[in-house]
Symmetry: C3
Subunit: 492 residues, 3 copies
Amino acid sequence: MMPDDMSRPLVRGGGAGGGAGGGSWGLEATSCEPGDPLIGILGTGDFARSLARRLVASGYHVVVGSRNPKRCSSVFPEDTEVTSQVEAVTHADLIFVAVFPEHHSTLLPLKPVLVRKTLVDVSNGLRMNRAGPSNASLLADMFPESCVVKGFNTISAWTLQVGPRDGSRQVFLCSDHHRAKNCVMQICRRIGFVPVDMGLLSSALDVENLPFHLFPSWHVPVLCTLSLFVFFYLYNFLHDVLHPFVKEGKSVFYRMPVETLNTTLPSVALVMLALVYLPGLCAAFLQLRRGTKYRRFPSWLDRWLTRRKQFGLCSFLCAALHAVYSLCLPLRKSARYALLAAAVRQVSDGVEDAWVDEDVWRMELYLSAGIMALGLLSLLAVTSLPSVSSATNWREFSFIQSSLGYCALFMATLHTLLFGWDRAFQADRYHFNLPPTFVLVLLLPLLVLLGRVALFLPCVALRLRRIRRGWQKNQHVRFTRLNDGVEDVSNV
Amino acid sequence: MMPDDMSRPLVRGGGAGGGAGGGSWGLEATSCEPGDPLIGILGTGDFARSLARRLVASGYHVVVGSRNPKRCSSVFPEDTEVTSQVEAVTHADLIFVAVFPEHHSTLLPLKPVLVRKTLVDVSNGLRMNRAGPSNASLLADMFPESCVVKGFNTISAWTLQVGPRDGSRQVFLCSDHHRAKNCVMQICRRIGFVPVDMGLLSSALDVENLPFHLFPSWHVPVLCTLSLFVFFYLYNFLHDVLHPFVKEGKSVFYRMPVETLNTTLPSVALVMLALVYLPGLCAAFLQLRRGTKYRRFPSWLDRWLTRRKQFGLCSFLCAALHAVYSLCLPLRKSARYALLAAAVRQVSDGVEDAWVDEDVWRMELYLSAGIMALGLLSLLAVTSLPSVSSATNWREFSFIQSSLGYCALFMATLHTLLFGWDRAFQADRYHFNLPPTFVLVLLLPLLVLLGRVALFLPCVALRLRRIRRGWQKNQHVRFTRLNDGVEDVSNV
Amino acid sequence: MMPDDMSRPLVRGGGAGGGAGGGSWGLEATSCEPGDPLIGILGTGDFARSLARRLVASGYHVVVGSRNPKRCSSVFPEDTEVTSQVEAVTHADLIFVAVFPEHHSTLLPLKPVLVRKTLVDVSNGLRMNRAGPSNASLLADMFPESCVVKGFNTISAWTLQVGPRDGSRQVFLCSDHHRAKNCVMQICRRIGFVPVDMGLLSSALDVENLPFHLFPSWHVPVLCTLSLFVFFYLYNFLHDVLHPFVKEGKSVFYRMPVETLNTTLPSVALVMLALVYLPGLCAAFLQLRRGTKYRRFPSWLDRWLTRRKQFGLCSFLCAALHAVYSLCLPLRKSARYALLAAAVRQVSDGVEDAWVDEDVWRMELYLSAGIMALGLLSLLAVTSLPSVSSATNWREFSFIQSSLGYCALFMATLHTLLFGWDRAFQADRYHFNLPPTFVLVLLLPLLVLLGRVALFLPCVALRLRRIRRGWQKNQHVRFTRLNDGVEDVSNV
């Protein structure tokens, strides 16, 4: 059943230090480098140099193949042998191909010596979103008897040189040859990177396109934030700046940089926060209506569900900016001049104290609610940091993201309701017949909170619970049992 | 010495790509998948589906065993074979048991084909803090000739599907069968999770209870914060709100949402910060008194020492909220009305400038000290993020947590002392004969700072240093030598 | 080619659970512990105890060698065998040497039984920056027939006990014996740490000096921040506090704790931010002038380039403190007294409204620009957290650090320009003939922004692009081809 030659560990003759280690105890058969492979590098560019330096530093023996060995040897670390391409390839067990993909064909003369060797293609695509065949598959077509592994293209020469401190430590690898891929994975780990298996060489195009990605999961949330921002900014401009100018001829354009912005930011923040919890509600109601959880959600809902974190962080950014802008208000000259003018007016009117108790209470309450909401949002933002969330278990994570999240939404809505007080019912707040901004803003959050409360109704909650445990409408009980999946208290 | 059958690597006949990879070089014997195992999954629920999708995406061959293969095959990824339970189990090398634990007994007919196979029990307990035997040990009793591995119960179907981005990447595994556990570990790593070895199957109950944990290390610190909060809030309410109402009939209840809260928060923050450094002092003085470090601390002290980070973060949260509340003060209508009234009064009194130099200095100084304390606390909070602290070495970490921490405590205490100024000695500040809040608050921080200073006294410092290097009171010098442990500049 | 005895897996006779695991499927040959090694520990100090506890908890069999076994056995976990040194060493496969380095020589009698065994030296140097031979190499000289591995010295007993939660999880290992090192690496991983291969035993001195490092990459940036701080503080003191005192006899020393600090902090922040982007510009212009990227930068530039993140974070800290200080301004008694005095003056002057439109606009604009700059800097700071930046690919990281970074620099410069308005051209702002602070501060940022704009000029940009793809001045085209390195869109 087991071919003989598989148990034959082919240690390279002159292997470094292989035989020296303790031969008398139990971990013998274990691991990993019975002798380190001699690693070849074709190419003498920045990447080749940094790679050579890194490999040598991790204890590998490196031989560099160059068309012009004499000229290039000076730029490589001392322990590296720089020699002709043929010689390097002949000696090496595993070869990094660090030449531009358009020059891959210049390696064709090396074909005979490359048979059964591992070639690591580190090249990147030159254009974004290329469709054609990947560089790696072209290389594999050129050298069908070699084992081509795609990888390291997401790592810059800079990262190789200074170590994987900034940017990603992940090295995405794919290959049709398991063994070859495994060896490259081990090299990865040993030089301090984290290999990620991307499967067969057919994924090479994806891997080559990876470096061109620019926050793909943020496109929709950021676009959404910007659209809401533009909409609310224009609305507030109309309502608070243009209206007094048109109706009373009062020029208050100075409000645009701070005050209008500061009415816009919380509006965006609250609507975005509601958008974090809306898809979960949609999913729950869809499951309730369908009477099963075994039908896929529409794809827009699926995508939305996976983007909730990004929506939440956009919301937090707006909320935090809103806080700073609000705290800046009393700093401004305009606030100072207005205050002084009010003092003068109060003196000339002979009013000793203009205290309005309702005004005071309204403000104290909505300030406090706002700060609490910001505090909760900060906790949410902190726990969405990768290293923090990875230290929580699933129940903790869902507690924070769901319970704390709804608390934050509730506090933020309360903040806005208290800010509104009874102003929604005062006709003089409806400039140009448009309702004040907070009325528009409150629609969605209140809807989400009501929906959430609806899910707490015992009958609804029970039905949803059963559906999520696998129960299906219109189905025999026995069938339900057959779908005996482990419960998934799904995150939605 | 070595049984024959152990060296026999049983590679599955039709192993994928196993033989193809480079056979001519030195990493041959190394690693990991001479052929990938065929993985079976029993169960067709959410977890089973997500697991199948994930395994297939990582290049594994998956066969799903269902009681109703035809009905279920549509919901699994294309490359998955869905077949009867018997057939799946017969072919597979390793089987994930993804059925509810209460249905484990339905698998008994498969017993003969499960002999010597690995069963991974992914089930969770259904109740919190169960005491009884674990699901995994019950399964092991049912199938004594199979190798049961407990694990994956902390991973949700959602995480399996979208990848280990949110929540923990750790997969806790335990088993009495080393080899089986190792294989599951490798599968873990390959599909992107981090296996954590939890030892023998007797730990299965702990592993099954893991998902029910809800921030166990935070219980005491949060409870402590809340108790202090309630105490100080009531104290401040009595002192600042009820006293003027009772004594002068002045209704200042509007202070409750912001001002009273804002006196309470810094009190909690400072006391909590002192509680971070108190257990270290206790430990040091205990060691000094006992004259040895080789006796265990009482368990409450041990637990306290491990919770210091949580105490510190609670303190930081309160301090940050205090900062935001303070910055909000001039925003409030009440502040505006009070200022206007003061202006009117000043005009009617004919006072040109009411400048009091002492008041000005006091405030500038305590503001500055407070901001510095907040800055230092922020640094401490940032460095307690897992990814930041894991990038520091032990000396750096202890420098930050100890030196910077004491600086923060000193600045915060100074902030409070400057805030107090000479008010602790003014009789009219003692409402209801109760001292002002800051007097109460300062007791513990001053005690901690004094204790710390005491440890700096040369004689004390020397003795402590000797104790921490292993010296023991009342012991022969030779004995001390025998306890020749590597120095532990313990964190306390 | 392959010596026979290398394929002989020497499993220890009484190996725990080795034979039980599934023997019938494909992962047989794989991995790691065909039987766990019996681990010996010499020494009974804190480190030895914590290590023993940790190893036992991870399923290892541990035997402790003590000179006084009876006295010490009580402090070790139950499953640990405490016996004489000779006996422990005889049975164990791998021995942790946890005795003070000055007592290493007491182990010499054990020499015969230590032959071919692995010794892990966990000792630390006792002084900082020692030059002499490392403890590990001395140990290796003492026991030339054993395999000495250096490591675990960066791990404290505390970390071993509570698990690698705080501080670093990295265990730096070096040894001349590959196999021995690999086994220690596996033990590392199994007890929850991350082994880092540091190469041969000649690196042991570096490893032993590691725990003495105290933020080496922060020295220059922090020193730079402090120097700028002192310079600007003195300058501002002269300009804003001493000048009115000398010229008009006005004592405004109360400004020192808050106002002078608050003029100093943004100055430091902006200059430091400019210093983040200056080295990249220098590098680009150096490459343009040299006409090649294949000559090393001067070492100061190299070092500066690797410290940019630290410069940026220092800048952010100052900017954040500046924000808090600014927001505190209206809180102060001094602001209140000044405002009241202004109100009284305005009443007595009979001015109804002192509104100055230019003042208002200036302030609204520079506040808004400042908040935006702070927001961008916060984004930069968050993405420089290790766990966040490691989740971005290289293009995303460079987008944030370069594009967003220059945006932040631009907004911060705009903030300062708007703050300055036309005051740079008013003679009465030149106290003691010194220009106002913001004039000094603006020099460097404007220079950097101009330099960056210069690099956008088509001819310059094209040339730089070609150089970065490997083109060299004064070289034959064919030569350029020979330097066929993979493109490195270097980060500079």
